[in-house]
């Protein structure tokens, strides 16, 4: 086996090294330098990190906007997805058709999705003589609606799979013991569904937190930069301001650290649950 190692490992490892490892390490180093092209980087210590938070309020605004958006999206997407999953696991005919329809938006890419909702929301708002860039709250709720439209079907599929694996015997036993539908749902179904809840929470959490395409297409950050989320703010810092590439890279490192922390918490939660079971 050993003599075939290059054949099995080399193509992928090489691509991975050149297009992931090198850019990743390079990015880490460049976050401590000032540069306009990679060649003219000069070391500036943690200045970029200080600038990212203090030079203007863009990054902190984006962070706060992203957190608010993520909280609202995670809750709304999961509640609606769970309710739909409950409906679709009732023994009704034609369930498959509805499942197919609800999942469809998930296949459409973020840019196209953003423009679809841009047209619709602006169409509605035009009756009131305004558009989506009129006020930051319009952009906020527009993004929430878009996110729900895109993610509900996806999460619903995971909840359906979870619901189908819940032990029917347990629910019947609860009914025999006098539980009504609601309390059986609350005390039996939902607790045994916790693995699905964890998966869905983290999928919506990371997807909302890292949102970029939809943000760009729906509002582009307007009005001003008030509806810029973190990823868009980083992009604008890199490509919108000459001489700020180092700050952009520092913001990107902070972004990476937050995303990595979320992933670690998720890993811990799923691991501890596996031990319990």
């Amino acid at each position: 086996m050993k003599k075939y190692a290059p054949l099995f490992l080399l193509p992928l490892t090489l691509a991975f090294l050149v297009f992931f490892v090198v850019p990743f390490l390079g990015g880490l180093i460049l976050s401590f330098t000032e540069f306009t092209t990679v060649e003219n980087a000069s070391f500036v210590g943690v200045e970029n990190y200080v600038k990212a938070f203090t030079a203007d309020t863009g990054f902190l605004n984006a962070l706060w906007f992203t957190i608010k958006f993520t909280i609202v999206s995670v809750i709304s997407v999961n509640v609606f997805a769970f309710l739909l999953a409950l409906l679709l696991t009732k023994s009704l005919k034609g369930v498959n058709f509805f499942r197919t329809v609800f999942f469809l938006p998930n296949l459409i890419g973020g840019i196209v999705l953003g423009y679809i909702w841009n047209v619709i929301i602006n169409g509605v708002l035009s009756y009131f003589g305004v558009d989506i860039t009129f006020d930051a709250s319009y952009g906020f709720w527009g993004l929430v609606i878009l996110m729900n439209w895109q993610m509900i079907g996806y999460m619903m599929i995971i909840y359906i799979a979870g619901l189908q694996s819940v032990d029917r015997g347990l629910i019947e036993a609860a009914h025999i013991d006098g539980a009504n539908h609601i309390s059986a749902l609350w005390h039996v179904t939902i607790p045994s569904l916790m693995p699905s809840v964890t998966i869905c929470t983290f999928l919506t959490l990371t997807n909302s937190f890292k949102l970029f395409d939809q943000n760009l297409a729906l509002t582009g950050g307007a009005p001003g930069k008030e509806t810029s989320m973190l990823a868009l703010d980083i992009y604008d810092t890199f490509y919108g301001r000459i001489g700020w590439q180092g700050v952009g890279q520092a913001k990107a490192v902070v972004f990476f650290v937050i995303v990595a922390l979320i992933a670690l918490v998720q890993l811990k939660l799923t691991r501890s649950r596996e031990v319990e079971v």
């Binding site: 086996m1 099995f8 197919t100 938006p105 423009y115 990476f256």
Partner: protein
């Protein structure tokens, strides 16, 4: 009686929700047949005698955005990248799962680690490397996707390989197969279900990806999402809304057609990807 009534109520509710999921796509579709001058003033009306323009928007939209060329490039990049990712990452995953050395363990860790790194972290340096190495073209970007898709794909293949009993491979070795023959004749066919999942997840991501092709290929080789975004961005408020609606419709159609034929695989693939990832 009561039971039928509840059923009717459930169906009404499901239908209302289904409308919420379908109407946005439908609105884009009807607007693509309307005159460009009435789209923004009355976006929710049906195309009537004077506002109906037939396929005019499709001709102008296709021409302005170079839609068919973009479609070709998207198809080329997606098909080639997915094929390469499947072959290379299944080989690597099998090798590093079966031969545990410090090197292969580190490699596995690096692949898993790359899954949590957001694109913004490497966006600038990656673009730099791609341009420097002359990979900023439709063929070159395939190798970038290979390096980027490696994490998730190796992770999923490894998870499956762990469950394959070694005896099968040992029997093949005794029959005189070398590692390459063992892999392609014995192991790879067993991996089929994971291959489908990996193919679907990567295809959905690459087909819809915007930022990487935009930064690396730019306006010279537009993929569909890039063409959509650049049409809007390049118009500076002076948008041909008719042509744009036609473009949005055209970019959704291939996805819906594919979904109708492959929905079982797509839903199962996404589901198992979510549960394992």
């Amino acid at each position: 009686m009561n039971k039928t009534l509840t059923k009717v109520l459930w169906y009404c509710l499901l239908s209302v929700v289904a409308l919420f999921f379908l109407i946005p796509v439908f609105i884009i579709l009807i607007n693509s047949f309307k005159s460009r001058f009435v789209i923004m003033s009355e976006p929710f009306s049906l195309p009537m005698k004077e506002s109906f323009v037939g396929l005019t928007n499709y001709f102008s939209g296709i021409e302005a955005s170079g839609f068919f060329k973009a479609f070709g490039i998207s198809l080329f990049v997606t098909v080639l990248s997915v094929t390469l990712i499947i072959v290379c990452s299944s080989m690597t995953a099998w090798y590093i799962t079966r031969r545990k050395t410090i090197f292969t363990k580190m490699l596995y860790f690096a692949f898993v680690f790359s899954m949590i790194v957001p694109f913004q972290m490497v966006m600038y340096t990656l673009t730099y490397v791609a341009v420097k190495l002359n990979f900023a073209n439709p063929l070159g970007i395939v190798f970038i996707y290979l390096g980027f898709g490696a994490g998730l794909s190796v992770f999923m293949f490894s998870g499956f390989v762990k469950g394959i009993p070694r005896e099968i491979e040992e029997a093949a070795t005794i029959d005189g197969c070398n590692s390459v023959q063992t892999f392609f004749r014995v192991v790879f066919p067993i991996l089929k279900s994971t291959t489908v999942t990996v193919a679907i997840l990567n295809a959905m991501w690459i087909w819809n990806d915007y930022l990487l092709p935009y930064l690396v290929l730019g306006s010279k080789y537009k993929t569909i999402p890039v063409a959509v975004q650049l049409t809007m961005q390049g118009a500076y408020g002076n948008v041909d809304w008719g042509g744009f609606m036609a473009m949005l419709t055209l970019s959704i159609i291939p996805i819906i057609v594919l979904y109708i034929f492959l929905q079982r695989y797509i839903i199962e693939g996404v589901l198992s990807g979510a549960v394992k990832g």
